[in-house]
Structure formats: structure tokens, C-alpha cells
Amino acid sequence: MNKKKHLFAEDSFFLSRRKFMAVGAAFVAALAIPIGWFTCKLERRNEYIKARSQGLYKDDSLAKTRVSHANPAVEKYYKEFGGEPLGHMSHELLHTHFVDRTKLNS
């Protein structure tokens, strides 16, 4: 590292105080406005997701059949064809295998 001491340097006041504040404020605003807008969009989107979840729960609570094992069609399947839940026939017909197709893990 060269230790040579400089003899000249920039006069840091080449910008007037008024212009410094104007440029600094414009920079901060140019950063803050898009970030604020994006954050607002994000919050509004989450509100929509929450409202939709609430609607789904409400529909669920009003539904006649609320659990899958009480579904008449499923009951009919086990009674007339599939035997019992987790039985051999049901395992053969209904069990699915998972294949990891993940490309990037991070």
C-alpha cells in the first residue's frame, strides 16, 4: 500500500446545501416509493389470501358433508367394492408414489 500523502483533494462543498438535500431527498424517495408500493401490494395480497381462507372455512362449516370419511360416495365405494380403508384392494388402487422432481433445493 502506497503511503504517499495527497497534496490536493476534492472540496466537498462543491454541492450547495440546498442541492445536496434535494438530490439526497430525491434518492431516498426514488428508493422508498417503489419499496412502499411493493410492500402495500404484498400486504393487500395477503389480505386477499386471508379473506379467501376465511371464505373457505365458512363454506366448509356450512357444508352438509364436512369430512371425507363421511362422504356417501366413499362409504358406498368401501361397502360395495373396496373392502376396508387401508385394505389390500384400496392400497393397490388408491396408493400413489412420490417422485422428487425438485431442480433447485435452496
Binding site: 500500500m1 490536493f8 476534492e10 395480497r45
Partner: protein, 227 residues
């Protein structure tokens, strides 16, 4: 020509700027390389996974570097913005001869160029692209990395395109920047080593800067003789 041999040092790049530039350099080079690899996907899955991880880590380093410099040297950031976004007729004239560089490299002749401030018009264009493109890269990269599933789908798509375009533009600037940086060797040494350029170099390439903004520094309580 007295000025050709005037070796008195002018501080052009202070220590905080040099440290910022070093970290930017060490983070942007791997970012550009891994960014191109992520775009063209030539490697195996393990290779792409490693590329992705390196891209993320280097991106975090660059983001922290930019945020830290903006907070710790806000005045330098404001001055930089004021410089790169200043525009005058001299910039038009500079771009009309492209700073005289093509004539110098291709035809071996020197053409008159308008006097420049601390940065010439090409450097100002590059600076504006780095400032805007770098900000876009950091902000869009954070969203694409951390909350692509939570952010609105259309905005994530748009940020992905903005990230790609900004990254390609800045990567395209890189070889030009490296070549011209080494060509201006006094400035190169100033940025990479000690921060100082000799007076004759500054007077040749940045006469308006020397004329309007450079002042002698006090040594041992005495002002140096006027420049």
C-alpha cells in the same frame, strides 16, 4: 508542458470508496459469472445447485456492501448521483466523438474532446446504469430469492425480467469497464491502491474537476501554494 510531469498527488478515490469498490468487485464478478450460468444452464443439477448457492451468497455480499456504503457514506452517494445525472452540451459533444477513444485505438489519431468533470460522459452513463441497475438487481433479487411465492405473480415475473435485463446490461458493461480501467492506469492505481492520481493526469482527463473542485489540503498547519 509543465503539467505532463506534475506528479503532485490529488486524492480522487478516498479509502471508503476503495473498500466499497473492492467488495463490489469481489461480489459482482462471481455474480456475473454465475448469473450467466444460471441463464444458460449448461451444468448438471449439482453444478447448477452450487452455481445458485454461490449467486445467492455473492448477492448478499453485494447487497450488504451497497446498503452499508449508502448509510455510512451517504454524502458520497449523493455527490455521485449529482455527478452522474448532470448533463450538458459537453456530454453531447463527448458522445459525438465517443471521448476520442475509437479514433485513438483504431486510427491512431487524437481528436479534440470537450473538457470533462470528475467523470467523463461515458463514465457518467456507466455510473447511472450501475446505480439504477444495481438497485434493481438487489431489490428484485431479494424478492425472487425470499418471497417469490408470497409476492404477486405478475410482479414476480416482471422483477425476474428486470433482474435479467439489468444483469445482462451490467455484465455487458464489465469488459469495457475493465479494459478502460486498465487503459487509464493512473486512475486504476488510484482506485485499486492508494487513491491518488497525479496532477498532470487529472488536468489532462478531468480539467473541469481540477479547475472547479480541487483544493490544496493543509499540511502542518500551512496551506500549500495555490495550484
Amino acid at each position: 508542458m509543465h503539467q505532463e510531469h506534475d506528479m503532485r498527488p490529488i486524492l480522487k478515490h478516498p479509502l471508503n470508496v476503495r473498500i466499497f469498490h473492492y467488495i463490489l468487485l469481489l461480489s459482482f464478478l462471481p455474480l456475473a459469472a454465475t448469473g450467466l450460468l444460471l441463464f444458460f444452464k449448461p451444468l448438471s443439477q449439482e453444478g447448477m445447485q452450487l452455481t445458485y448457492d454461490v449467486h445467492i451468497i455473492a448477492g448478499i455480499v453485494m447487497a450488504l456492501d451497497a446498503v452499508a456504503f449508502t448509510i455510512m457514506a451517504f454524502d458520497r452517494v449523493v455527490q455521485f448521483i449529482a455527478r452522474v445525472f448532470s448533463f450538458s452540451g459537453r456530454d453531447v459533444k463527448w458522445f459525438m466523438v465517443l471521448g476520442g477513444y475509437p479514433q485513438k485505438f483504431l486510427l491512431g489519431k487524437k481528436v479534440p474532446i470537450p473538457p470533462m468533470n470528475k467523470y467523463n460522459s461515458g463514465q457518467k452513463l456507466f455510473g447511472a446504469c450501475v446505480l439504477i441497475g444495481g438497485t434493481v438487481l438487489i431489490l428484485s433479487g431479494l424478492v425472487l430469492w425470499l418471497i417469490p411465492h408470497a409476492a404477486p405473480r405478475d410482479i414476480v415475473w416482471f422483477l425476474g425480467q428486470a433482474h435479467l435485463v439489468s444483469g445482462l446490461v451490467l455484465t455487458a458493461f464489465l469488459p469495457v469497464h475493465l479494459f478502460l480501467a486498465v487503459y487509464r492506469f493512473d486512475d486504476f492505481k488510484a482506485m485499486m491502491i492508494h487513491g491518488n492520481v497525479p496532477y498532470h493526469d487529472a488536468a489532462e482527463y478531468t480539467p473541469l474537476w481540477v479547475k472547479n473542485e480541487i483544493a490544496p489540503v493543509a499540511t502542518n498547519g500551512e496551506q500549500l501554494t495555490s495550484k
